[in-house]
């Protein structure tokens, strides 16, 4: 029997496959295929894809049933969390990478798991459409590598409250020290991958200056089991630093939240900085110790010291792990990229995201270091797997070669019965790592898993409430004198040192005047 998916469904899905395929190729080739002496990086990356393939269909259906992808995007857009530029694009890409490997191995045909593929990609597409609503693109690369995720009301608050600083002063020194230490800690706790770092923007803040929002996520005791104890003193799970730079144009903020600048990024050009926390339980961004430059500098120094200690302790632990444990840590960091969506939806279960399915585990004997490096290099950089080759006349978007990173779905199931539906229910899983025992750090304090889910299910942020959710900047343009606009802006301005109660009428120049 032919599939019940429509022709337009398949056309749209294939366009999404090609979009994330092109994005993944550009990201992987410009951000390098990573190796590490500590972690077997590419073996764990390759193995993580299989875990995504066998687990995402069921887990994303569970999330979507509790909270539709569109609402998840609406909520995630207003905070800095593990649902961000990076993870919202990688979810499709990891899933499709497994499909490509198994197509290449002859374990799948392109019409296999059709319903699963259609669902997972549709979910991801809806999530990205919503998350990127404010700039009306689907990925940052669609926007010439700009990621202007936030609405005006939020950018205004971050702009207004950023505290002035200059090279050599206490705040400047503390902010730079924080950024370097947080970056190091982020790479380590994520087993050498960049998933703990994220940037969005840039935003034009006037006087030729630009603001970049620099996010560090999953810093405290939370989903990552290996942070239990080690990260107990760290109070905030997610921290965001809006940094305002002079003489700097961020010409690239890409699909992985990485940035490049013209002229070259120079920390001496940082002229203002702020600090916020947020998560799936916060009503937007919450300022952190921003009453004065001295208070902020002291707190940044304090958190940096905590992260230095956590880094040293965690490094000693990780350096003592065996290869299977190192692989499991990296694999689970990778395959769990959608996990914060489950927190937003109030259906998070640790075992959903931190076990490796038996059908993924079976591939482990293949994954020596060389095969891992080669398989990833062929898949994402060289595009030389036999399954990736297309007809001889074709040129791909970036490489002008007749090959594409991800294969599309054939249209034949619209008329014939040569297709299969999916991978079925998730089977038994396991991990060589200790299980999580500590509570989860949130903006409401440290909570159990059940408490996290109950709080998420009971929470509706002000910007998603009925009557507010669809009041975007396009509506504000012609309704800035509307009481609903004022209410929306004032909710965002609630914690603002400079803008509290100012409402919807302000322009950027007004904000600049108020902060000076």
């Amino acid at each position: 029997m032919p599939t019940t998916h429509s022709y337009s469904d398949l056309l749209r899905t294939n366009a999404w496959i090609r979009k994330v395929s092109d994005s993944f190729y550009w990201q992987c080739t410009t951000r390098t295929v990573q190796e590490s002496k500590l972690f077997p990086v590419n073996p764990y990356i390759a193995l993580s894809y299989y875990n995504a393939w066998y687990r995402y269909p069921e887990l994303l259906r569970k999330i979507d049933a509790a909270m539709p992808a569109e609402e998840l995007g609406d909520r995630a857009r207003e905070v800095s969390s593990y649902v961000n530029l990076l993870t919202t694009s990688l979810t499709s890409q990891f899933y499709l990478s497994a499909r490509q490997f198994m197509l290449d191995m002859g374990m799948l045909r392109p019409t296999d798991a059709l319903d699963d593929v259609m669902f997972v990609l549709d979910f991801c597409e809806r999530l990205n459409l919503s998350y990127h609503r404010n700039h009306a693109h689907m990925l940052a690369t669609d926007s010439n590598n700009r990621a202007q995720i936030l609405p005006e009301r939020t950018v205004q608050v971050l702009h207004a409250d950023a505290i002035g600083t200059a090279p050599g002063d206490k705040l400047h020194t503390a902010a730079l020290a924080f950024l370097s230490t947080a970056s190091s800690y982020a790479f380590l706790k994520n087993a050498e991958c960049r998933l703990g770092l994220h940037n969005s923007g840039p935003y034009r803040v006037g006087n030729g200056q630009e603001m970049l929002v620099r996010d560090f996520v999953d810093l405290a005791e939370g989903d990552l089991p290996w942070l239990d104890g080690v990260a107990a003193p760290i109070e905030h799970n997610n921290l965001s630093l809006p940094v305002i730079m002079k003489d700097t144009h961020f010409n690239i903020v890409d699909d992985w939240g990485s940035f490049e600048a013209e002229p070259q990024y120079d920390s001496a050009n940082m002229v203002a900085v702020g600090l916020y926390t947020s998560d799936y339980l916060s009503d937007g961004y919450i300022p952190v110790h921003m009453e004065s430059a001295a208070e902020l500098a002291d707190y940044l120094h304090h958190v940096r010291e905590q992260m230095v200690s956590a880094t040293a302790e965690l490094w000693r632990t990780m350096a003592s792990w065996n290869r299977d444990q190192m692989i499991d840590a990296g694999l689970l960091v990778y395959s769990s990229v959608p996990r914060d969506l489950a927190h937003f939806a109030g259906v998070y279960e640790q075992d959903d995201w931190f076990l490796i399915e038996e059908r993924a585990q079976r591939f482990r004997p293949l994954h020596n270091d060389e095969y891992g490096n080669s398989a990833i290099a062929e898949l994402v950089g060289l595009i030389t797997l036999p399954s990736q080759q297309t007809n001889d006349y074709r040129m791909s978007k970036w490489a002008a070669e007749p090959a594409e990173l991800f294969s599309t779905l054939p249209y034949s199931p619209l008329e014939d019965d040569e297709w299969t539906s999916g991978v079925g229910p998730i089977r038994e899983g396991s991990s060589a790592l200790p299980r999580k025992t500590a509570k989860y750090t949130t903006t409401r304090g440290k909570l159990t898993q059940d408490e996290c889910n109950a709080a998420a299910q009971a929470f509706t942020p002000s910007y998603v409430e009925k009557g507010s959710r669809f009041l975007d900047d396009a509506w504000v343009k012609s309704h800035s004198d509307d009481g609903r606009a004022d209410a929306l802006y004032e909710a965002t301005q609630q914690g603002s040192r400079v803008l509290a109660g100012k409402g919807a009428a302000l322009r950027r120049e007004d904000v600049q005047r108020l902060r000076s």
Binding site: S36, K37, V41, G106, D112, L385, P386
Partner: protein, 235 residues
């Protein structure tokens, strides 16, 4: 199942690396054999748990490859430590004995790409950091002043607990966008990435041209005419 039932790959080719070619071919062959023996349609076979490949199947493929005498390139130290018989030894820095000289007649022992343009060149002592034990020792005993870390790991995690104490970094791999490069930029530690070294040894006094322009990340790295910052042995 007959051979005719295995679909052709009209535009297929061989994989470009030996391990991928070996493993994926072996898997394709095994799938074809089991499918042929099953008598099922593909749609029935692909959903039949009894026909799934198992860990034992994959272990046999690895054994078959190792039995040919093939040994794998290693990346992570732990892989070599746990299964030394599977891997080739780690490469070391060579010494051609024919290093070019700088304007003062000193040997040029390396070239690389600057992550950023530092205010000045840096002189110091070359310290090779490529093992967990070395990092552990430096964590406990401290990093000596004037250390220019020579690292064979473009990742950021091996040296992360001691990175901020280096005066300079020379990395024998990666690019100016690698994780180690990202971290050295954040710390403001001068760093050469993708360094090609010849004749530098532990404890050598060196000067590194960190004050030269940062590398263009979009430049053709295979361009042999590139004028790259140098690491010069001074004693």
């Amino acid at each position: 199942m007959t051979e005719e039932r295995i679909p052709p790959d009209k535009w297929g080719a061989e994989a470009s690396t030996p391990t991928v070619q070996f493993y994926h071919s072996a898997i394709r062959q095994l799938i074809a054999e089991r499918f042929a023996a099953s008598g099922l349609t593909w749609e029935e076979a692909v959903q039949d748990p009894s026909l799934e490949l198992t860990r034992v199947d994959f272990e046999k493929m690895e054994s078959d490859l190792l039995a040919t005498g093939y040994r794998f390139d290693v990346s992570a130290l732990v892989s070599l430590q746990e299964e030394p018989d599977k891997y080739k030894p780690l490469p070391t820095v060579g010494d051609s004995g024919a290093q070019p000289q700088d304007e003062s007649g000193r040997p040029i022992v390396g070239v690389g790409d600057n992550v950023f343009q530092a205010g000045a060149d840096v002189s110091g002592t070359a310290r090779f950091i490529s093992t967990i034990e070395t990092v552990m020792t430096m964590m406990e005993e401290g990093v000596s002043d004037g250390t220019i870390a020579v690292i064979d790991d473009s990742g950021g995690t091996l040296t992360v607990p001691i990175l901020e104490f280096f005066d300079g970094v020379v990395c024998m791999g990666g690019t100016v966008r690698s994780h180690l490069a990202i971290l050295t930029r954040e710390y403001g530690i001068p760093c050469l990435m993708g360094a090609e070294l010849d004749g530098v040894q532990e404890g050598d006094q060196v000067v590194v041209e960190y004050s030269r322009a940062a590398a263009d990340p979009y430049a053709d790295v295979s361009d042999a005419t590139r004028d790259r910052p140098r690491m010069i042995k001074t004693s």
